[in-house]
Amino acid sequence: MWEQIRSNQTRSAVLVAGMGVMLLLIGYLVGIIFLDNGIGGLIIAFIVWGIMSLVGYYQGDNILLGMARARKISHDDHPRLYNIVEEMKIASGLERVPDIYIIDDPAPNAFAVGRNPDKAAVAITSGLLQKLNRDELQGVIGHEIAHIKNRDVLLMAISSVLLGTIVILAWYATRLMFFGGMGRSRRSSSSGGGGQIIVLVVAIALIILAPIMAQLIYFAISRKREYMADASSALYTRYPEGLASALEKIAASTTQLKSANQATAPMYIMNPFRKEKRPASNLTSTHPPISERIRILRSMAGASFADYEQVYQKVHGVGRGVIPASALALSHPAGLRAAGAESKEPDKIEKMRETSDLMWQLGSYKTITCDCGTKLKIPPKFKEPTVRCPHCGRINPV
């Protein structure tokens, strides 16, 4: 059952290979236009790609977490979240508990990073943390752990590096063309005839189109992975309703994530740039329509991959499955469980307080509880030996 990843990888590998071919093509064209030498362009493309891959492989997760301003937490900072990640780690059979990061942002969202399951991390915004009950949080974390377990994170990293390289090469190539960098190629084409001009025009058109094509492929890879991660989350938790209702809550929020951009969008559980009532099956979206994801999860008769596949085919037409055949072959019946006892709606105020306390604490503020019950948050720069409670006037030692 846990080998589903392999054949899913071949399917995605074809798409990634497509992007690779596109990179080679654009390198070659750049070479022809600017250097009169296709091989030279290939070498440039290869060097740019190599540098970006190395940086992405060794520093990718740090860059991403840094960009999102995520902060690492331990068990004592937020026992419930930590425990839930541990529960999902056990359910998925992952070897190591991923690092857990919190992003101080009211927009509810989450993502996973890490080049392999031993060096993975999940990040969740404080907004999401305070909105969800335990079962919902379990569904979301299950989804993120599935991305780690299915090696989606690595795949997305590889394809985003490819995409980045293509975009950078195309960007510089078009800028150079428009701002007079084409002198060299004009000189060389003086000896040629109309044939060479046609080649040039086609090359330019391709250079402009390549980044768009690459982006479409990138989105296609990402969308497939989302369905697969939803199916895995349902299987781990045996409770698809948890993820469904979490997605509903996330979709209902209108807050936009501050720290996301187009390149990091596919990492999140929910597209951070989604617009309301966007048409279903959009080529340019990184995520499947949320209403459809919810509907599939809610219609599942059991928790197994086969159940997910069945509903998916009902929505998309028979024969257009999303779970690879090898995973289905190993799929076995898995019953649904009842809602957890702790899954009653959380006390909103209490949860908000809990999350904001956590954010203060992560900002290395010290918390002192005054005798009157007021919690005083002392900033790290505060040097006085005592502080006066603004509520009751008592003097508290720091």
Binding site: R80, N83, E86, G93, R238, H332
Partner: protein, 187 residues
């Protein structure tokens, strides 16, 4: 001469297939073992949490001596059954789960206790441990199912038969309460 080469070729191919299947079976058996170890870790954690829980609860629920004793007894019995097979152990752990569920239902009636920070922290740990037990059981049973299927299915059943692989035992928790609600009800 060609005939000899063909025969050698067939033997080599068969040998390679045999080795590949054997290695895969070993991999799955290790996964089952590993999954069992996971359950073990969580069950031990539950044994460790219970004395703390009893200590914390004792002061508040003076009239529930029987319930408390039942939990302690079930815990000790479960700990003794720890070296037994999956079937017997499942039964003992089921008893413990239902004794715990009864205690935590009783606790509902004591609002003072539910405001105790120490108790709340313990409650979270216990809830999560119960979840971890059921998730590790789920993973273990999935692994056993997969392993057993391979042992029974052609062609790996031939390799398994020749090399003496034995089917794994499922870990079922037998107490009624546990089957109905795999989670302890707290709040």
């Amino acid at each position: 001469m060609i005939g000899v080469y063909v025969i050698i070729g067939i033997v080599v191919v068969l040998l390679v297939i045999f080795i590949a299947i054997y290695n895969r079976l070993v991999g799955w058996r290790n996964q089952v073992k590993n999954a069992w170890a996971q359950i073990d870790v969580q069950l031990k954690r539950r044994y460790d949490l219970i004395p703390n829980l009893i200590e914390t609860v004792k002061g508040y629920v003076k009239h529930e001596r029987e319930t408390l004793e039942a939990v302690t007894k079930a815990r000790n019995l479960a700990q003794q059954a720890a070296s037994a097979g999956a079937g017997e152990r499942g039964k003992a752990e089921g008893e413990l789960s239902s004794a715990l569920a009864r205690l935590l239902a009783v606790v509902e009636r004591y609002p003072d206790l539910k405001a105790n920070q120490n108790f709340l922290a313990l409650q979270e740990e216990l809830t999560s441990t119960e979840n971890k037990i059921s998730f590790s059981r789920q993973y273990y049973n999935d692994s056993v199912l997969k392993f057993n299927n391979q042992i029974q299915m052609f062609p790996s059943n031939m390799v398994a038969g020749m090399t003496g692989f034995k089917a794994g035992e499922f870990f079922e928790v037998t107490a009624e309460e546990e089957r109905k609600a795999p989670k302890v009800s707290f709040t």
